[in-house]
């Protein structure tokens, strides 16, 4: 793509471009963390609660840790949580949704289980799973993935149900194609655009849920910096040392905003029908 083409694209899709630039920037920061930031875990109580300065760009927190380093490393965890929750829930949801949508005998059972999962408030399920087990990034991801799955399953299933009635599928069936082949070749592709859009929203909500879990003391272990647990562990310092909350809050809001912008843009582009519905 040359420069003019890019400018045209950016004019037509400002939200996609803005969202992608922010996310790309954050990804680079996350990957290059060891090069640009110091040790995010290094505690030095003598330096606690120092305001932003040349030495500590974003100030220090209650344990005397460098907030800039923690924000930079926090990008890693937040992005990992966001991306892995999105990909895991989409992949698992896709598989279940395709199976349920295509195999009629399975549909009823699967959907009842999904209804059951949806009926449990997501945050309560996540709090219970994390605080009942050990707090690790893995458990947090699983705890956020489980309640997201039924939403993906429903989306996929609805796409499958409408696609299945299309004449070209009926033609393929009468032409003697095997079920699996039909699903993979004809049905799967039509689920991709809405799923990509869904995945961006799941990413944003996963990052926010992780922050909420940390706020309630059921998030990623405090030694590992995430924007959510940084805000949570400094929440008593709002008036005394606002920078301890401001910078991670800014990073968090920026990334969630970028993901949402990207999602809106993709939705308008990939699925005009969905854009009108949602």
């Amino acid at each position: 793509m040359d420069a003019t083409a890019f400018i045209t694209f950016a004019r037509r899709n400002p939200t996609i471009v803005a969202g992608s630039i922010i996310l790309l920037f954050m990804t680079v920061v996350a990957l290059a963390a060891p090069l640009i930031a110091g040790d995010p875990r290094l505690m030095n109580p003598v330096n606690r609660l120092k305001p932003p300065s040349a030495q500590f760009w974003f100030g220090t927190d209650g344990l005397g840790r460098d907030i800039f380093s923690r924000c930079v490393y926090g990008a890693r965890i937040s992005l990992i949580v966001g991306v892995s929750v999105a990909s895991a829930s989409v992949l698992i949801g896709l598989a279940i949704g395709l199976a349920a949508g295509y195999l009629r005998w399975l549909d009823n059972y699967v959907m009842r289980v999904m209804d059951g999962l949806m009926a449990i408030p997501a945050i309560l399920l996540a709090i219970a799973m994390v605080s009942l087990n050990r707090a690790t990034v893995g458990i947090v991801i699983i705890a956020i993935v489980i309640p997201e799955i039924p939403r993906v399953v429903r989306l996929v299933r609805s796409v499958v149900l409408t696609t299945r009635e299309q004449p070209y599928i009926e033609a393929a069936i009468s032409g003697g194609s095997r079920s699996l082949k039909i699903v993979l070749r004809h049905i799967l592709p039509s689920t991709i655009p809405p799923l990509i859009v869904q995945a961006t929203y799941v990413t944003a909500s996963a990052i926010l849920i992780e922050a909420g879990l940390s706020f309630l003391g059921a998030g990623v272990p405090p030694e590992t910096p995430t924007w959510g647990n940084m805000i949570a562990s400094s929440r008593l310092l709002l008036a005394r040392a606002p920078w301890t909350i401001f910078f991670p809050g800014l990073c968090l809001a920026l990334v969630v905003l970028a993901v949402n912008l990207l999602g809106d843009g993709l939705r308008d582009r990939l699925d005009p029908r969905l854009s009108r519905r949602m």
Binding site: G64, R134, S233
Partner: protein, 535 residues
């Protein structure tokens, strides 16, 4: 259903009906005015109404309202009679005899009798460490007549009054015989005491607020209040324990005048509170809390005494205190095995402390011990800020001192379950956990369960040391303060060699209250609400 239970139920239904349906005038009459009501926020929630059932301090706060004690300590820590009138010790028969003072009545209106007391003592002693220690030396507790009872001893024992008057939980609270005859392992169901307040079940909402009304029939002693001894004169109509877990919210509520008292403002709020003309700061418990690091004696590497000693050289208490309390006048270091400020405080065998943090020394000790970098599993309670802070800092210090540490984050409930597992760390066990204990108890060789070094039957961490146990036994029969202080030095000399636990500091918690609250008595481990005025 008993008479009182039925009455409570009737009362509560009536009150509930009044609240739900009656016009606001009727309610205004039933409920004391704001000027005569104190709303207080403490460090936690009342865990159960049975005060001898748990060692959680909130149970003692609740108990101190509703129940009375035979003896109470004054500010100097000396036992003074409270429910007891005349008492004496017959050295020949090794028998204590006590007579109840006149005017004592239960909340149901009946008289307090020695039969109630004997049953209460027995139930409490079944649950309390100090009580068990005493009962091992007691021949019998008997009721002589309506008002008199005796405690006869098998051997010389100097701690009877200390144990009866202590404020460390479970406190020796007196209940009616009916409740006191409940299996000690079963919680009591009705809350009937003889204390200066009654629990208002109709307006109490478990988990959010506990309402205590002035007991109009309480007859206080004539002496001036001192510690928890002396006359318990109630000067307000109602005290409400509000459960408010968020510290930020509680401080804001205090500044806005929505609550009158907040027990545990975080040190970082102190400048803000000190600057507020409507708020005053008061230290109620001068001995405060001591931070404990418990190594597990059952498994490598801490089954090796040199490895435990290495830990002493890694921990810098002032850093731990700064991490949670900032540059605060409220926190200090405690080289003494018995908490600073207690009568048993001393400086025996504190070379490790005077030498300061010394990672080279730690590494040398680890090498001597033959430590090969085995993983040390440190349990971190993430939902309790000071424990979470100290666990992270401890991990960093131990790593610098040559240990291979893995921090396992979990909530406090998981810690308290897992710490009772005796298996090796790889099979669900652990190597280190962090907690804290009241300074009064840490300063007392017997009262603190963690001070026992009886191996498998000791407190979590299961330290074992025969000499330590021998010295503790000697201490408990020491007759003068000087005797006990001498033995305490010996205990400490030995303890800092075998290292049953390491401390990360000692801190006092200043309480914050509205300036119109007067007369809060400085007592360790209980907050009395008698004598308190709202002006």
């Amino acid at each position: 259903m008993t008479k009182i239970a039925r009455r409570t139920v009737l009362k509560s239904t009536a009150a509930a009906a009044a609240i739900a349906g009656a016009p606001s005038l009727a309610r205004a009459q039933a409920r004391p005015s704001a000027a005569r009501t104190i709303r207080a926020v403490f460090h936690g929630d009342v865990p159960t109404y049975d005060p001898i059932w748990t060692t959680a301090n909130m149970a003692a706060y609740h108990g101190g309202m509703v129940y009375d004690t035979l003896f109470g300590i004054d500010e100097k820590g000396e036992a003074k009679p409270q429910m007891v009138g005349k008492y004496g010790y017959d050295a020949g028969n090794m028998t204590w005899s006590f007579e109840l003072r006149p005017g004592l009545k239960w909340h149901d209106g009946t008289d307090v009798t020695s039969g109630d007391i004997v049953a209460s003592l027995k139930r409490w002693a079944a649950r309390d460490g100090g009580g068990q220690h005493m009962m091992q030396r007691v021949k019998g507790i008997e009721s002589k007549d309506e008002k008199t009872f005796t405690i006869s001893l098998k051997e010389r024992y100097g701690l009877v009054l200390d144990v009866l008057s202590k404020t460390s939980t479970p406190v020796c609270f007196m209940m009616r015989k009916k409740e006191a005859e409940t299996d000690p392992m079963q919680k009591i169901e009705t809350v009937v005491g003889s204390g200066p307040f009654t629990l208002n079940m109709a307006e109490t909402r478990p988990g959010t607020q506990y309402v205590y009304d002035r007991n109009p029939n309480y007859v206080p002693r004539a002496e001036a209040p001192n510690g928890i001894s002396g006359g318990k004169v109630v000067k307000v109509d109602r005290v409400v324990f509000v459960n408010m877990p968020d510290g930020q919210t509680a401080v804001a509520a205090l500044q806005a005048g929505e609550i009158d008292f907040y027990e545990i403002p975080q040190p970082d709020f102190m400048p803000q509170l000190e600057a507020d003309r409507n708020i005053k700061i008061q230290i109620l418990n001068q001995l405060g809390q001591v931070g404990l690091i418990r190594p597990n004696f059952l498994h490598p590497p801490f089954n090796n005494v040199k490895v435990r000693q290495a830990m002493l050289h890694c921990v810098k208490q002032s850093d731990h205190m700064k991490a949670t309390f900032g540059d605060s006048k409220y926190a200090k270091e405690t080289p003494s095995y018995f908490a600073m400020g207690t009568p048993m405080e001393n400086d025996a065998n504190t070379g490790w402390f005077k030498g300061g943090q010394n990672f080279a020394r730690s590494k040398a000790l680890l090498a001597e011990a033959g430590y090969k970098g085995e993983e040390v599993l440190l349990m971190q309670a993430t939902n309790i800020p000071y424990m979470s802070n100290s666990a992270q800092l401890l991990a960093q210090e131990l790593r610098q001192g040559g240990f291979n540490v893995r921090v396992e984050a979990m909530d406090w409930s998981n810690v308290v379950q897992r710490r009772s597992v005796k298996n090796p760390p790889a099979q669900g066990g652990w190597n280190i956990f962090i907690t804290s204990a009241g300074g009064t108890a840490v300063g007392h060789p017997i009262l603190l369960a963690a001070h026992a070094a009886t191996g498998g039957s000791a407190w979590f961490g299961w330290p074992e040391d025969a000499k330590h146990e021998q010295l503790r036994a000697q201490w408990s029969v020491g007759e003068t303060l000087a005797d006990r202080q001498r033995i305490a030095r010996e205990i400490q000399e030995n303890a800092w060699n075998f290292v049953p636990q390491v401390y990360y500091g000692q801190w006092v918690q200043p309480a914050a209250m509205r300036t119109n609250i007067r007369g809060v008595l400085p007592v360790a481990e209980i907050i009395p609400w008698w004598n308190v005025e709202k002006v």
